[in-house]
Amino acid sequence: MGEQSQQTAPIQYDYTVAKMFLVSTILFGIIGMGIGVFIAFELAFPELNNLFGEFGTFSRLRPIHTNGVAFGFTLSGIFATWYYVGQRVLKVSMAESKFLMTVGKLHFWLYFITILLAVVTLLSGLTTSKEYAELEWPLDILVVGFMVLWGISIFGLIGIRRERTLYISIWYYIAAFVAISMLYVFNNMELPTYFVTGMGSIMHSVSWYAGTNDALVQWWYGHNAVAFVFTTPIIAIIYYFLPKESGQAVYSYKLSLLSFWGLMFVYLWAGGHHLIYSTVPDWMQTMGSVFSVVLILPSWGSAINMLLTMKGEWNQLQSNPLIKFMVLASTFYMLSTLEGPIQAIKSVNALAHFTDWIPGHVHDGTLGWVGFMIIAGIYHMTPRVFKKEIYSKKLIEIQFWLQTTGIVLYFSSMWIAGITQGMMWRAVDEYGNLSYSFIDTVEVLHPYYTMRAIGGAFYLVGLFIWAYNIYKTFKCGRELSDKEINVNASPMAS
C-alpha cells in the first residue's frame, strides 16, 4: 500500500488515549504523593502508624508510595506524552489506524487495572519484598501485557509515519520501552510456590535468584528503573516540550545524539553503586562507582543542551510559568546527576549509605526533575487536547513557587539529616566504643523529618492546584480556535 489519499475532511491528531493517560497521571499523582506525605509524617510522628491498624503502617504504605509515583504517576505521564508527542513529531494521527487506536485504548485499560490492582494487593500485604519490584507474579504478567501493547503502539505509529526521521524524543521513548521491558522481565523471574508445592497462597512466589546474585540483579534493575523511568523518557519529554513551548529549536541536535548514546552505554553499568561494601565482588563495586561518575557527562550533556536552548530567550522565564517549570526541571536534573555520582564514590558512600541523604537525593530528582517535567508537559498538552485556554496563569505561578519551596525544604532537611545520621553512626570514643545508640540519632532527626514532611505537603498542595487548574480548564476554559492553539506558548488566562 502506498501513501493514503487525503480524505475530504482534513486529518487531525487524535488525543483520545493521551487524554485518558492525562487523567490517570493526575489521579495516581495524588494517590502516590498523598501517601508519600502521610508516611513522611509517620516518620516524624510514629504514633500515626496506629491510625488504621495494619493498613496504616509505614511498611505497608511505603511500597504503595514508591510504586504509585513511579509506575502510577510517572508511567502515566510518560504514556500521556507519548500519545501526544509521538503523533506530532511523526506527523501521523492515531485516527488513521483503527488498529493502533484499539491498541492504545487496550493499553490504557490494562495499565489502569494493573495499577489499581497494585494498590489493592500492596495494601493487603501481598509483596515479593523486592524494592520497586514488589508486585506479585500475576500482576507482573499484566505489566508485561501493557508494556507489549505500548511497544506495538510505538512501533506501529513509527510504521505509518509521514516524517522519515525520528526526532530525538522518539529515540528516548524507544530506549525507555526496550530497557524497562528487559529489566522488568529479568528481575521479576519468580516461581509461584503454590504450583510446585501444592500448598500456601496462590499469590506467593520466590525469586529465581538467591543471595548475592539476587542483590545484583535487583540493583541492576533498581538503578535502571531510575534510568529508564525517571530519566530517559523524561528527557524525551523535555526535548519536545521545552523547544515547542519556547519556540526555540534544540540548541545542538548533535549533542542530543551524542548524549543519547552516551547515556545508553553508561547507565546500565552503574547499578553496582547500590551494593558498595556488600558481598558482591570488589571489582563490581568499583565498576559501579566509576560508571556512576562517568554518567555525569551524558547527563549534563542533555541538561546543558536544554538550558542553552533558551539562549537569547531568557526573558521567557519571567513571562511564561511553564518555561519556569522546565528550566528548573533541567537544573534539578543537573543537581541530582552531580549528587548521585558523588554519593557513588566509595569513601562518600561509606558515610551516605543507608542515611536520609539518599531519599533526599532521590527526591530532588523525582520532585524537581520528573515531577516538574510531567506537570509542565501536561499543562502544555491541556489547551491542545481540550481546545480550551488554561484556566489560570496565576495558579500555575502559585503552584510553581509552592512546589519549589517544598522541594528545597525536602532536600535541604534530608541533606542535614543524612550527614548528621552518618556522622553519628560512625562516631566512636577514645576506646573505640560507639558514641551514640540508634535512638540518639532518631531523636536528633525529628525536626528534619518534620521539615521534610511539611516540604512534601507543600508539593502535594501544588499537585492539587494543578489538578484543579486542569479540571477548571476542561470545565469552563475559554474555547480556542485552531489558530489560537497552533502557537508555541500555551494560551492561558491571567
Partner: protein, 67 residues
C-alpha cells in the same frame, strides 16, 4: 601472565577503544555536516513544525497505512 596483569591490559585496551569510539562518533557527526552529507541541526525543527498539515521535513517514502 596472571589474571591481575590480564585485567590490567584488558582495562587499558578497553579504555583506549571506548575513547576512540566516542571521539570517532563526534568526528563522524561533525565531518558529515562539513561534507554536506547530513545536516543534523535541521532535525531540531521537527518539534517546532509539527502540525499534521505541515510538509514533512523528509517524506517517508515507505509509508504504509492500515485502512
Amino acid at each position: 601472565m596472571d589474571i591481575g596483569q590480564l585485567q590490567a591490559y584488558a582495562y587499558f585496551f578497553f579504555t583506549l577503544l571506548l575513547v576512540f569510539l566516542l571521539y570517532s562518533y563526534i568526528f563522524h557527526l561533525y565531518i558529515s555536516e562539513r561534507r554536506g552529507t547530513k545536516d543534523y541541526e535541521k532535525y531540531g525543527k521537527l518539534a517546532l513544525d509539527d502540525e499534521i498539515s505541515s510538509e514533512p521535513l523528509e517524506k517517508n517514502s515507505e509509508r504504509v497505512v492500515e485502512k
